[in-house]
């Protein structure tokens, strides 16, 4: 089950939950706040979500990733609110019999998450101004 959290993402329990006797590969991806974007200094990111729909979309991603890549486990956690530089806004963990599927699935989940989950990111710059990231339109 996916989670939306408002505090730093607690990674060790995610790895613990990914242990599967039939799997030989775990991949963990963390998306972290970077200190620059398009030439400007970024102080922090801020995320908001349409929570009921985001949780449903993330659950669908987890389930689809498991089927498509024959995973033993897939979990997604997204943080909301302010996320300082170097802290993680998103964690994706996959567990698979072999490493190719674990890597492919984590990458696929991240690509899909950015395209299809109602979560929004605002960049706070060091000038004190802020702007919403351009983003991907949802299908209408």
């Amino acid at each position: 089950m996916p989670e939306l959290v408002r505090a730093p993402i607690d990674v060790p329990p995610l790895l613990e939950a990914a242990r599967r006797p039939e799997c030989g590969a775990i991949d963990l991806f963390l998306g972290t706040t970077r200190d620059h974007h398009e030439g400007r200094r970024v102080l922090r990111l801020e995320y908001e979500a349409y929570e009921r729909m985001a949780l449903a979309a993330l659950a669908t991603l987890e389930r689809t990733a498991c089927e498509r890549f024959h995973l033993g486990h897939c979990a997604i956690v997204h943080r909301l609110g302010l996320v300082p530089v170097t802290e993680a806004s998103v964690a994706v963990v996959t567990s698979a019999p072999h490493r190719g599927a674990a890597f492919d699935a984590a990458r696929w989940v991240m690509d899909e998450l950015k395209r299809s989950v109602p979560i929004w990111k605002k960049e706070h710059f060091d000038g004190g101004d802020a702007q919403w990231v351009k983003g991907h339109p949802l299908p209408t």
Partner: protein, 81 residues
């Protein structure tokens, strides 16, 4: 019927609130709700071409009829991750 409107990101900021309420006649469609919102909040007009709409948590089209009292969310282009 009563439409509970949820606003996010740029849409929330332009309206100045995360929530709004509409009263619409039975038989209204998604497009009618958007037109009504735009009359109440003209600052939404510029955003309109970029917005998706969800009704009760599911993406909807402009021509879709509203199912009665419902939750309608305005969803700007997404940027999670």
């Amino acid at each position: 019927m009563r439409i509970d409107v949820k606003l996010f990101a740029q849409a929330r900021e332009r309206v100045g609130s995360a929530d709004a309420r509409l009263e619409l006649p039975v038989g209204s469609r998604v497009a009618d709700a958007l037109a009504s919102l735009e009359r109440a909040y003209p600052a939404l007009a510029e955003l309109r071409p970029h917005l998706a709409v969800a009704v009760d948590g599911t993406l909807a089209r402009l021509a879709d009829p509203l199912p009665g009292d419902c939750e309608l969310a305005l969803l700007p282009p997404v940027s999670g991750g």
